[in-house]
């Protein structure tokens, strides 16, 4: 890759043990299975870790996060949030995490490099039941969700192509 290319990190976050909580991780798994990406694009299953994701986050120029997002929409609604929208959101205080994404980004800023960030999210149907499968609604909308994430990759100068033979 050349120096002028943006380093793009597609980070799927969430917990695969709680149904749609795993939307982000499952989307990244599916993207890895079905697509080949150019060298400037990295896909990563971030799980639910906060500060431990700082290294990869600081090593990219554009961070695309895929996650379950609680908006006011119907389950399956897809959202696009940028860093600024996130900062305005007041609800993060109640994050169940040690540090949530917004805090992690602020910490990246303090430490040195905060990449541009965009969040592609989906309204979950069920994120309480302990189960490994996505809900039918989330499953049905997964392709659309991935489409939006790929759109961001393309806009930022990343390239991708469907694999001829997807990994089983």
């Amino acid at each position: 890759m050349s120096d002028s290319e943006k380093r793009i990190l597609v980070l799927g976050v969430g917990n695969i043990l709680f149904t749609d909580e795993g939307i982000g991780v499952r989307a990244v798994e599916e993207m890895e299975r079905a697509y080949d990406f150019s060298g400037n694009v990295t896909l990563m299953d971030g799980g639910t870790l906060g500060t431990r994701l700082m290294d990869p986050i600081m090593n990219c120029d554009l961070l695309i996060v895929i996650d379950a997002v609680l908006g006011d929409g119907e389950p399956g609604s897809i959202y696009r949030l940028t860093g600024e929208d996130l900062r305005k959101s007041l609800a993060f205080r109640d994050s169940m995490h040690q540090t949530d994404l917004v805090d992690t980004l602020i910490m990246c800023e303090i430490v040195g490099h905060r990449p541009e960030a965009v969040i592609i999210g989906m309204e979950p149907q069920d994120f309480h039941t302990m189960a490994l499968e996505l809900s039918p609604v989330a499953k049905g909308r997964q392709e659309a969700l991935i489409g939006f994430a790929l759109e961001e990759v393309k806009k930022a100068g990343g390239a991708f192509a469907r694999k001829v033979q997807p990994v089983a």
Partner: protein, 566 residues
């Protein structure tokens, strides 16, 4: 102040409040923990620790291939991924009776050591420091006096007034811009200064700078872990029978790991420990608050995975604070109680026979009040974590631990009884981190020695038995963790996890005995019931992790429509 200690040491001010006091959720922890206390005349007289999240992992694991357990258990928690992977692997190792090669043991130890360094640094600076350090007050400090103070604490520090001024500007700007994110809900905020914080401004500023420096350092610690762990953030190198990170045997990979580790170790020696001692010397009254009676540690860092007594930190139990009589662990004496938890029944069961059958009552219920079970050893509630590990190692005469404990006690001019407290718990975490840090290079040298001598073995083949049971003991950064498996027809028949937080933060047992954090909170002074930082000090000193891993972005701002794209 200019490096000298104040004339009369301040202490936690006395309050006069009487009435109920609920902290829900306790922030800066992993998961939801609720503390429900009754305060009389400024002191806690009754308290319940309640976990608000149900974990039903056992149910998901049933019927699966035992080898897959680690991939699910390490998702149970947002922070301690590797420790669950290791406990799951060890319990299957144990069940199938495979002897892993010695390099595999060292490799597992090195990753665990990295996890200790990372987690303890992050705990001290990012999860616990704000209970003691007033960030707002740091803005008032004199940068020159701060540099003098800091450099007086350790000969390897070369900090300048300009650096401290820059930190003041950075943090001041952060507060002014409203990006308080990382400091929200801190109890030093508010119109009136919270008198329960009593560090001099210079010590506050010093700690804030190192809070930021530690953010850099934990990135390196995490990177070190990823070098050996094969995949970040969920390690994928442990397998039943050993490990699979053959790439990490290459001299250049080991050198990379060593370079990062050396940097982190130096930070622990030159910053973490001196800062811990400096802050502790101002809060010495906390050496008399927040103690418990009984302790359990599974020990960690084996040289032989099949001999519990080869662990660098020895396993053991201490009853009634008696350091003269550390006892060996008999795993048959571990039971989990559910009488005061949201589960069916009231029978205490050994983990092999454990059942997980939820039955929620209500948040107001004072009888059944937590999703956590209550583990007991010989019927006693036992605190686990670094304090337990350090006490057991100290009691057994483990020289590196004895030396570190003695150094800390002498520095603070207190005796060993001070260890049984909130301050002792926080100090023990530093001690465990330091002793582990000092050992890292011994393990690295052992591994490269073996490789140089031509021993690159990392895996022992084995066969899945039709029926078996096994247990994996881990002393995680947060304490005693055990996974218990029963295998039938080659599949998981029963799988139970007894995690550190249930030992330390679980509810009352069938005999009505308080859980450790409940015991620790009894008698705690409360100055300002609206900002009860005293509760946080003790709760955070346990490094609670409620293992929820629930992560949903909440975008309800009233403007959600504008985010929606489809």
């Amino acid at each position: 102040m200019s490096g000298s200690k104040p004339q009369a040491a301040p202490v936690t001010p006395k309050g006069t409040y009487s009435g109920p006091l609920v902290v829900d959720p306790v922030t800066r922890i992993e998961g939801h923990l609720r503390i429900d206390a009754t305060v009389e005349n400024g002191k806690i007289v009754d308290v319940r620790s309640s976990s608000q999240l149900f974990r039903g992992l056992e149910i998901i694991l049933k019927g699966r291939d035992p080898r897959d357990a680690q991939h699910f258990t390490q998702r149970a928690c947002g922070v301690c991924t590797y420790v669950h992977a290791l406990a799951s692997t060890r319990c299957v190792d144990n069940a199938v009776k495979v002897k892993i090669p010695k390099n595999a043991t060292i490799m597992r130890n090195l990753v665990m050591g990295s996890q200790y360094l990372h987690d303890h640094l992050v705990h001290f600076y990012h999860l616990h420091a704000l209970d003691w350090v007033n960030v707002a007050n740091a803005l008032k400090a004199d940068p020159a006096a701060t540099a003098k103070l800091s450099n007086s604490l350790n000969a390897n520090r070369k900090e300048t007034p300009e650096q401290f001024k820059a930190v003041q500007d950075k943090v001041g700007a952060l507060i002014a811009s409203g990006k308080l994110g990382i400091f929200t809900n801190a109890y030093f905020l508010g119109e009136k200064k919270n008198e329960a914080y009593y560090l001099p401004a210079e010590a506050d500023l010093m700690a804030v700078k190192h809070y930021l420096d530690a953010l850099h350092m934990q990135v390196k610690a995490a990177r070190a872990m990823a070098i050996l762990g094969a995949k970040n953030p969920h390690t994928q190198f442990t397998v039943v029978g050993g490990v699979t990170n053959y790439d990490a045997l290459k001299p250049e990979r080991l050198a990379e790991f060593k370079a990062l580790t050396d940097e982190v170790v130096a930070f622990v020696q030159n910053f973490y420990i001196p800062d811990l001692l400096a802050v502790a010397s101002f809060y010495k009254d906390w050496a008399g608050i927040g103690g418990t009676s009984n302790f359990i540690s599974f020990g960690e860092f084996p040289t032989d995975e099949y001999d519990w007594n080869t662990r660098f930190f020895a396993p053991g139990v201490i009853f009634k604070r008696d350091l003269a009589k550390p006892q060996a662990i008999d795993s048959k004496l571990i039971e989990e109680h559910v009488k005061h938890s949201w589960y069916v029944g009231d029978k205490a069961l050994h983990p092999y026979k454990g059942v997980t059958e939820p039955k929620y009552t209500s948040l107001e219920d004072k009888d059944r009040y937590s999703w956590m079970k209550a583990p007991r050893y010989m019927g006693e509630a036992c605190e686990t974590g670094p304090l337990a590990a350090v006490l057991v190692a100290f009691a057994k005469g483990h020289k590196p631990t004895v030396d570190a404990v003695t150094y800390v006690l002498n520095y603070l001019k207190v005796d060993a009884s001070a260890l049984f407290s909130t301050l002792g718990r926080t100090a023990a975490r530093g001690i465990e981190c330091l002793v582990t840090a000092n050992q890292m290079n011994v393990w690295i040298a052992a591994l490269s020695g073996n490789v140089k001598a031509g021993d690159t073995e990392l895996y022992t083949p084995w066969k899945m038995p039709d029926e078996a049971e096994g247990v994996g003991y881990v002393q995680a950064p947060r304490g005693a963790l055990s996974h218990w498996i029963k295998i039938k027809k080659g599949k998981i028949e029963n799988f139970q996890l007894v995690v550190p937080s249930t030992w330390s933060l679980g509810p009352r047992c069938a005999a009505g005995k308080l859980g450790p954090v409940e015991e620790a909170l009894m008698g705690t002074p409360i100055f300002d019931p609206k900002r009860p930082v005293e509760i946080l000090r003790t709760v955070h000193s346990f490094d609670p992790c409620i293992a929820c891993g629930v992560h949903v972005l909440d975008a309800k701002t009233g403007e959600t429509a504008s985010f929606k794209v489809l």
